[in-house]
């Protein structure tokens, strides 16, 4: 019975979708933007960044891992939710060393773009300034741990033909980091490196010898907020 079409509410409006579809996918197809950082359409969701938190029948759930069910009442934009999202973003900004002026990804960065969309002017939390390293051993790829938000996008998507990942968790607890598996360096071609850079929502993964390709003012989030493509597709 999983293919049944069911009725449910998003922000008070009635929608129809197949039972079992994730809230985030229905919202995206219906022109409702729910911010995400770790979610990638078509890849099994992990719910690690919590940016997509929505209210489901009054409870806060991550929209990327929660399937819809009959009569569900989903709220995506209450003032409390917006404040919660801002808080999550601010935590991400203080938890690492996100110095936008020196980052090659600036202007094309999802984390920064969400900061712009929610107009975060300052973080309410104290900056941690953790001591992190930069791994530039790979001939094609730089991994800057200062900018990594541990979303696992690269771990989940960048794999070789046999399904072996190029990226893995390293260390534990608050020292955890996502590292390049250097034993796979020979298989990590320029093309794989490019895919990894494109999937990274921040400037944690950068391709060597190719920075600042797009001139300022032509960059992805320069004029239009992140999510406007989703919202405008349905107007």
């Amino acid at each position: 019975m999983t293919n049944n079409v069911i009725k449910f509410l998003i922000d008070g409006k009635e929608y129809l979708a197949k039972n079992g579809t994730f809230i985030i996918d229905v919202a995206r197809e219906s022109g409702i933007f729910i911010p995400t950082l770790c979610n990638i359409p078509g890849i099994k969701p992990r719910g690690s960044c919590r940016m997509c938190t929505v209210s489901v029948n009054g409870r806060y759930m991550s929209a990327c891992t929660t399937p819809i069910s009959e009569g569900m009442d989903v709220r995506t934009n209450t003032p409390d939710l917006i404040d919660l999202r801002k808080a999550i973003l601010e935590i991400m900004f203080v938890e690492g060393n996100h110095i936008c002026p020196v980052c090659e990804k600036s202007g094309n960065c999802d984390l920064q773009a969400l900061g712009y969309r929610y107009q975060i002017l300052v973080s309410r939390f104290p900056h941690q300034y953790p001591k992190r390293t930069i791994d530039a051993l790979n001939p094609h790829l730089i991994k800057d741990h200062n900018r990594c938000i541990l979303c696992k996008r690269c771990i989940r998507t960048i794999k070789d033909e046999q399904g072996r990942g190029f990226f893995a968790f390293h260390k534990r607890g608050h020292k955890i980091e996502i590292s390049i598996d250097h034993s796979m360096n020979e298989l990590l071609t320029e093309e794989v490196a490019q895919r990894a850079v494109d999937i990274c929502p921040t400037g944690a993964l950068l391709k060597k010898e190719s920075g600042y390709q797009t001139p300022i003012s032509n960059r992805k989030y320069e004029r239009t907020p992140i999510g406007s493509d989703i919202e405008h597709a349905h107007q």
Binding site: N97, V122, Y129, R223
Partner: protein, 185 residues
């Protein structure tokens, strides 16, 4: 009697003066700004000390040494409203890239082993004169030292953002933040 113009003071702490350049980047609107406000202590007019209580204090840059902290506290004492202008002031910015690196290591790189000083400091002297401001253990954003009232991000903040913010503050109108002006780079 003519109504007294609001008084503005500005300073650059651990910054690059880029934000002050951006203040000047309001172009011909600087003429209308001069009509609206009066400048007190500021590098723009080279007034070194506060001569009266100010309405608006604009802070560029973060706090990296004791003098920055002193200046910032002076601004808090002498200004009704303080604005953090630019990334350094708000989150430490580029100066804060030294946070996490021990001071000795920073000094050795800057005065002994760095490519621009190598061989020019044969006695390996580190600056340690009591006249010099003490460097802090790390770089602090301004709001971790004193209360800051408003924040204008950007590196530098867009000239339009600075002008609109000042105009809104002076006129008492709500500041509108169009998407294009709030940027972190």
């Amino acid at each position: 009697m003519e109504k007294k113009k609001p008084i503005v003071a500005t300073t650059s702490l651990a910054g690059c003066f880029g934000c002050h350049m951006s203040i000047l980047d309001i172009d011909e609107r600087i003429l209308s700004l001069i009509d609206l406000v009066e400048f007190n202590k500021s590098p723009i007019n080279d007034i070194k000390k506060f001569t009266e209580y100010c309405d608006i204090g604009i802070i560029e840059g973060s706090c990296c040494n004791s003098e920055n902290v002193y200046t910032l506290k002076e601004f808090r004492k002498n200004c009704r409203v303080l604005i953090s202008l630019g990334e350094c002031s708000i989150m430490g910015g580029i100066p804060s890239m030294r946070n996490g690196i021990p001071i000795r290591e920073c000094f050795e790189e800057a005065y002994m082993h760095g490519p621009s000083v190598k061989g020019h400091n044969p006695e390996m002297v580190l600056p340690n004169d009591p006249e010099l401001p003490m460097i802090l253990d790390r770089v602090y954003p301004c709001h971790e030292i004193v209360k800051i009232d408003y924040y204008l991000p950007g590196c530098p903040p867009r000239a339009d953002l600075i002008y609109d913010a000042l105009a809104a503050l002076i006129s008492g109108n709500e500041l509108k933040l169009p998407y294009e002006v709030v940027k972190y780079d």
